[in-house]
Amino acid sequence: MSKANLKPPQVAAAGNKERGGAGMRLGGLLRKEFLQIVRDPSSIAIAFVMPIFLLVLFGYGVSLDADHVPVAVVAAAPSQDSADFLAVLQGSHYFAARPMASMPAAEQALRQGEVSGIVRLRSDFSRQMRQAGGAPIQVVVDGVDANTARLVEGYVDGAWSTWLAAQAARRGGTLQMPVDLQPRIWFNGELKSRNYLVPGLVAIIMTLIGALLTALVMAREWERGTMEALMVTPASMSEVLLGKLAAYFALGTGGMLLSVGLAAWLFDVPLRGSFWILWGCSSLFLLAALGMGLTISTLARSQFVAGQIAIIATFLPAFLLSGFIFDIGSMPPVVQFITHLVVARYFVAIVQTLFLAGNVWAVILPNALALAVMAAIFLGITWRKSRKRLD
């Protein structure tokens, strides 16, 4: 679609020479939009600088994988058994163990946020180990960040199993766990959170680019009175809209390619699906995102209000309701319904699947269809609301 619009005006106009037809008018509008883009560098900055800045910052900065979590260790009377257990804790890169003299000192450290957890072995640890029921290992985690707390619990659990297995091996046996859980994680075997956060970020950043590029353009024409000037030209309103859409679509496609390229090459996120399908879906998404910006711009009519709506309606919904970090399936039904109004939701599902799983049509088709519907709705609203009339 964009390709057809990008034809040089003289070629497109060739069939309609005497009156300077639709092609020529569109060519002129396109030229005007491109000049406006080039002369206010902020649009170029939105399309190219913002993706690089945000992806680099977040690609390196955002991670849910806790490493070297500071944990206070209180072992009242060191013995061979407790030393073995602590050695396992210290050997794990998940922990940075900090020996503490007493429980009150450790609790104070936890309260001040210096450590995320406490592991305590009592003074009669060795004796209790040889009694029925076994010895307790007291674990305290800081529950404020529930997710990190759960990770720490899981890590301590892992260290404990390792230690049990080693103990059993020393006695010449193997650890007897009735059911031996053998988890396999598909698509992301090492559970690297970056592998799913970076494709999600591409979707978030594209939402912002799409909306930011167009949120003010219609309102600006209305506010400055140039919309009236456009109205008296032979160009129809659809052509004015098409000119804007095509120009910003080209710009947005550039930003999109940049983001995908950075995700794949800089951050080594595997792209298991087809690049061309990704391109196609991204184009649909870009249309929807640009359409959303145009809708905001058309309905608000003033740049100030359009800007306010763009701040409210784009970033936080895309960040929290798209499935980028929070699982949509676990939200209450009403909120799940609301997530269907968030364009980024469909694109996040597509990019996470295309990057990590491959060409799964069962995911791609319904979501791509939803993107097409959203794009049609937004562009339709814009088209209907921007008739040639003055209120």
Binding site: A146, M177, R184, F326, G329, A349, L356
Partner: protein
């Protein structure tokens, strides 16, 4: 002088609230968003959809599956009979977890051999996968404990006794709602401040303001007060929703919360005015608002802990006012903190606020177009 400033503040409020669309945007969405986001933002999984592939017909496998069926966090959506049926279910995101019990599961258990239980998890969202795996692990370990008890076997020589402070049930909603309060407050300050100077610049009224007897400092006060007032009112409404509707405990000191809020608003308003006075057009102001707001939210430790970030990025977070405000919110809400513990969070925000506000007022006169 006071009258001049008062007149300017009056004018700023009028500019902000006169337009009914702008008024609606300022009041309704933050409250609606708190309600929606409050329910959305949690890492706890509910009704994890799972598939069962049971090749074993023994009692033990049925007992184990009954435990999955009885757990409130799991919901069985499929039972498959062949290995090939599994991949399409997971690929299409129909199930998150698949439990595969081999043909000799019960026999192995009865004979005292370790019985392997294969669990396949969709890792596209690795955090969800990890949480789901933890749920599976707790079901299996309870099964193991009961099995050992019933058979009178030797248990392990040591056991873990875990407790979580401040949030005993590890409800992640308690962690996120204070964070959302901070994020929405930041958004409100951006709404009020990021475009004001840019709009006046674009329309030429800022030049008129500059030739009045008002000094830059006075203009600054006039532009700051609306952001502060709207921010305090909104944050109070949001706080009420968080405590009364979502029942997040508020254990700490209310005065400490408001001191933190005012300092945070000053730094947010300062950043917004700085962006606004740097930009010549509202388009540039909007871009600046996003270039500040998005990193401020993502690097604040709202969803991904700052401790997990590489060192260089951690240094960057020191200039993020939201980082300090989130610590205050969480400590005041959940840990019952008072002034003494929070001083370390107060002064960096005061510093950021002072620096950005001074720079913005300097730019009023020194950046002309």
């Amino acid at each position: 002088m006071f009258q001049r400033i008062l007149a300017l503040i009056r004018k700023e409020f009028l500019a902000l609230l006169k337009d009914p669309k702008s008024r609606a945007v300022l009041i309704v969405p933050p409250l609606v968003q708190l309600l929606v986001f409050g329910y959305a933002a949690t890492f706890d999984l509910k009704e994890v959809p799972y598939a069962v592939y049971n090749e074993d017909r023994g009692l033990a496998s049925r007992d184990l599956l009954a435990r999955f069926a009885g757990a409130p966090s799991f919901r069985q959506v499929a039972e498959i009979r062949a290995e090939e049926e599994l991949a399409p279910l997971i690929d299409a995101r129909k199930v998150l977890v698949a439990v595969h019990i081999g043909p000799r599961f019960s026999a192995d258990l009865e004979a005292g051999r370790p019985a392997p239980l294969q669990v396949i998890i969709d890792g596209r969202n690795s955090n969800t996968a990890m949480v789901a795996l933890n749920y599976v692990r707790s079901v299996v370990s309870r099964f193991n404990d009961d099995w050992v008890d019933r058979r009178g076997l030797d248990g392990p020589p040591a056991r873990l006794e875990t407790r979580a402070w401040f949030n005993p049930n590890l409800e992640s909603r308690w962690f996120f709602i204070p964070g959302i309060v901070g994020m929405l407050t930041l958004v409100v300050t951006m709404l009020v401040t990021a475009l004001t100077v840019a709009r006046e610049r674009e329309q030429g009224t800022f030049d008129q303001l500059l030739v009045t007897p008002l000094r830059p400092g006075e203009i600054l006060i006039g532009k700051t007060v609306p952001g502060l007032v709207v921010g305090i009112v909104q944050a109070t409404a949001i706080l009420l929703v968080a405590t009364l509707w979502f029942k997040v405990p508020f254990l700490g000191s209310l005065p400490a919360f408001y001191v933190g809020l005012v300092l945070f608003l000053l730094s947010g308003v300062g950043a917004g005015l700085l962006i606004s006075s740097l930009s010549a057009t509202q388009q540039q102001g909007l871009l600046g608002a996003f270039l500040f707001m998005v990193p401020a939210v993502i690097l604040s430790g709202f969803a991904t802990p700052i401790a997990n970030m590489p060192h260089a990025v951690q240094v960057v977070t020191y200039i993020d006012p939201l980082r300090y405000f989130l610590v205050i919110l969480r400590k005041v809400f959940l840990e019952g903190a008072g002034f003494a513990i929070l001083v370390d969070q107060f002064w960096p925000m005061a510093l950021i606020g002072a620096a950005t506000l001074l720079l913005a007022s300097w730019l009023f006169r020194h950046r002309m177009y």
